[in-house]
Amino acid sequence: MNAVVLDQVSVRFGARKALDGVSATLSAGCVTGIVGPNGAGKTTLLRAALGLQPLAGGSIRILDRSLPAWSRADLAKAAAYLPQGGEARWPMLAHDVVLLGRLPHRGLLGAPDVRDRSAAADALARCDAGEFAARRMDELSAGERARVLFARALATGAAILFADEPAAFLDPAHQLRLMELMREEARRGSAVAVTLHDLSLAARHCDEILVLHEGALTACGVPADALSDATLARVFQVARTDGLGALRRL
């Protein structure tokens, strides 16, 4: 099923085209990796798809309903978003931060109920962050905070999960755990989209890859096709070296 469909989506920042006629489909049950050099439009694509960014052109459908037809409250239940380099601005307790992911499910005056609490505890445990539950965010390392914030997005239990650079501060083991978690979400039937800079991580763990370059979608498909040697050279100016999937600069 097509969870998110982008049709000729364009976004402008002043004169600059941040996204130029991007058409793409994110499927339910699929982990889609979005890669591209700095400034290629990865974040803009995620923000546009969630209605956080006004479009200069094109249209977006989410779960077979056009984006403008969604109310913010309903969309919040359907799609969870982890912004890039997200922070909790107050030194709140990790558990309270994760509970914020349940806000879309809570009534206007609603205190978190048992279901919210167990969803939060579950998300923390899945992110290997259960031991931080009672600790303040400012007492955690950047990587530990990143895990708590990812748990916040997981706790929503949405059908669509967008994560912008979630792997940035994580150690290798937790990067792999992160990719596993996204796989688990996809198996549950969610459509998962994640921006990554680590191309080998993307190639190994994503079902589909979208390669963005200067605001345009230059390649897409299964990793072997999308991340061909030609694309790597043209878009990223890198080439594969022998063995270990390592890259060298061109």
């Binding site: 923000r47 969630l50 956080l52 913010r72 409250a73 309903d74 969309l75 919040a76 239940k77 799609a79 969870a80 978003y81 982890l82 912004p83 997200g86 922070e87 909790a88 601005r89 107050w90 030194p91 709140m92 307790l93 558990h95 309270d96 931060v97 914020l100 992911g101 806000l103 879309p104 809570r106 206007l108 609490r117 167990s118 939060a120 505890a121 579950d122 923390l124 445990a125 259960g130 539950a133 009672a134 303040r136 400012d138 914030l149 916040r152 929503t156």
Partner: protein
């Protein structure tokens, strides 16, 4: 795993609830003390009886002098404490308070204009109406800025600009003041005091401040979500312009009415939320009500204290809060620098 988290969380909530109740009790207790305290020696029983039947000297003192002063201290403290907590949540900045957004200065300007043009002498409600209008004008500018997508920094800078502008206009009104009497009124105004207030002050302050605090409380979810940043808050279903609008309007009503009744009482909105935050897990939503109660307690304690120290009324409330609050503000900045 689940069990430990839930137990811990319940314990945290219980502590917060206990602190909230304690703040309410302190505010009420000092409110009663403030009511019983004054230059005229009247037994407590006579005062309470006078409050309800209004008979005799005790009735006049209770209804016209003591009750307005005690209630206004509670109301003003609640308005400033609640406003400070909501603004800090909105701006994600522990230094934000009604003064920073220019609301206090604008309300003060409105009041000064009322005094300068003599409107205050024509009708008793002209002064509060102008103060609230000043606060609302400032709030409207902030609201329009927030609607046009200006970020938190832009909003704070706009507040600083408005505050400077309002202060300059106030100074202008001062220098053009035709008679020395208006001048001294304005100077007294700017110092902040709840001496010699009447029931008519309570009559406008109560509904405006109650409405303002109710608006602020309604933004709780939005302020919590904003602690994750603007994009995350919107993706959690929060209508950001609505949250900003309600905070700005609520602050304008509460602070405008408080400034109309008492002039510029500073730093309450800064100190109270900061002191209370650790008891509520630093969650913006959970400190609005406690900050209102804590502000009510702080202002009432300060008012009782300054009357005990200087029964002749040489000490003004705004002077006392500034004397205590300004060093606290500096200490806070030093502490924040050390942490970052």
């Amino acid at each position: 795993m689940d069990a430990t988290v839930i137990t811990f969380e319940t314990a945290g909530l219980a502590r917060g609830t206990r602190v909230t109740i304690a703040l309410g009790v302190i505010a009420l207790g000092f409110g009663v003390w403030s009511f019983l305290l004054g230059p005229t020696e009247i037994p407590a029983r006579a005062l309470f009886a006078g409050l309800f039947d209004g008979h005799g000297a005790a009735g006049i003192v209770a209804q016209q002098i003591r009750f307005p002063r005690a209630v206004l201290a509670l109301l003003i403290g609640a308005a400033l404490g609640g406003s400070g907590a909501a603004l800090q949540g909105l701006f994600c900045n522990p230094l934000a308070e009604p003064g920073v957004t220019g609301v206090t200065s604008s309300a003060g300007l409105g009041a000064v204009v009322a005094l300068y043009f003599g409107a205050a002498a024509v009708h008793p409600f002209a002064l509060p109406a102008m103060a609230v209008a000043g606060a609302l004008a400032c709030a409207a500018v902030l609201y329009l800025l927030s609607r046009s997508g200006a970020g938190m920094v832009a909003l704070i800078l706009a507040g600083v600009a408005i505050a400077s502008f309002a202060t300059a206009l106030t100074a202008l009104a001062l220098s053009f003041s035709p008679n020395p009497y208006a001048m001294s009124e304005i100077v007294l105004w700017m110092m902040g005091s709840i001496k010699d207030r009447t029931l008519s002050d309570v009559a406008y302050a109560f509904p405006l401040i109650a409405a303002g605090i109710a608006l602020l409380l309604s933004t709780a979810r939005g302020l919590d979500a904003l602690s994750l940043g603007e994009d995350a808050a919107r993706s959690l279903g929060i209508n950001l312009a609505g949250v900003r609008g309600r905070v700005v309007l609520g602050v304008a009503l509460a602070t405008g009415a408080a400034t109309a009744a008492a002039g510029a009482v500073s730093f309450v909105g800064l100190v109270v939320p900061h002191l209370l935050r650790p008891f509520y897990g630093h969650q913006p939503a959970r400190i609005i009500l406690p900050s209102a109660l804590g502000g009510a307690a702080l202002v009432t304690v300060a008012d009782v204290g300054l009357r005990l120290i200087a029964p002749d009324g040489q000490l003004l409330l705004g002077v006392v809060t500034a004397l205590l609050g300004a060093p606290f503000f500096l200490w806070l900045i030093v502490k924040m620098r050390r942490q970052s």
